[in-house]
Symmetry: C2
Subunit: 122 residues, 2 copies
Amino acid sequence: MMTRSTRQRRAIRSVFERLNRPLGPQDVLQEVAQEVEGVGIATVYRTINTLYEEGVLVKVDLPGESSRYEVAGKAHHHHFRCQKCEQVFELTGCLNVKSLVPSGFQMTGHDIVIFGQCSACR
Amino acid sequence: MMTRSTRQRRAIRSVFERLNRPLGPQDVLQEVAQEVEGVGIATVYRTINTLYEEGVLVKVDLPGESSRYEVAGKAHHHHFRCQKCEQVFELTGCLNVKSLVPSGFQMTGHDIVIFGQCSACR
DNA sequence: ATAGGTGCAAACAGTTTGCATGTAT
DNA sequence: ATACATGCAAACTGTTTGCACCTAT
């Protein structure tokens, strides 16, 4: 299986690079629709999955929401979700959460999500 | 609108009290099916929603998963999810996450989730 | 020329809703 | 008796898949 460079695929990939924040399939469709017309949602899903399997994108799951994706290779980070515009932003920095792990339990990962209003929405 | 005490409702409510951990509709159905027979999944959903609106239950959303619920009134806490048995456990303690909030952003809440293996699954 | 990609519509899974029937009050 | 609750099946929503057609290689 080798990946071809199609109009749609280039457009989808460039959306992630240009916006540089976690995006869901609908976000991507909406952006892509402005560049390339008649792109189907199925293609967006398929392309995102391919890019994900290739390791170009990583998944960003926030509590209670469907998956978003962002370009891979960033340093470890967490996210802020604006409750008004619903956009997700990248946070820098992390915290040591080990102290919360009960004894006898083994930690393999963690997630921190902060909710609130972004600077544009306050 | 007043809430009646039916067999199904009593059973569903007691499952949350007995198991004392976040449960999804399917978890509840499976438990309830052992006490009361012929309970429909729709009733489970409706009852959970009613209990949620009444404030008896609170929602527990973990990244990438559908909503679970647990009995309300507990102290602020976070969760640990076992990647093997998929159960969710309550953690005690919290961390100060304010330092992660970008300037100009306003924080109204936060979430911390730890993944790994529970003591029974290691 | 041909293996992959695309669009459309159908299929799916999880959740919600309409409706006739059952039941707590 | 009557309003609320239940079970079933149909409707919905977000995601995936099958298939005939299209296109990068």
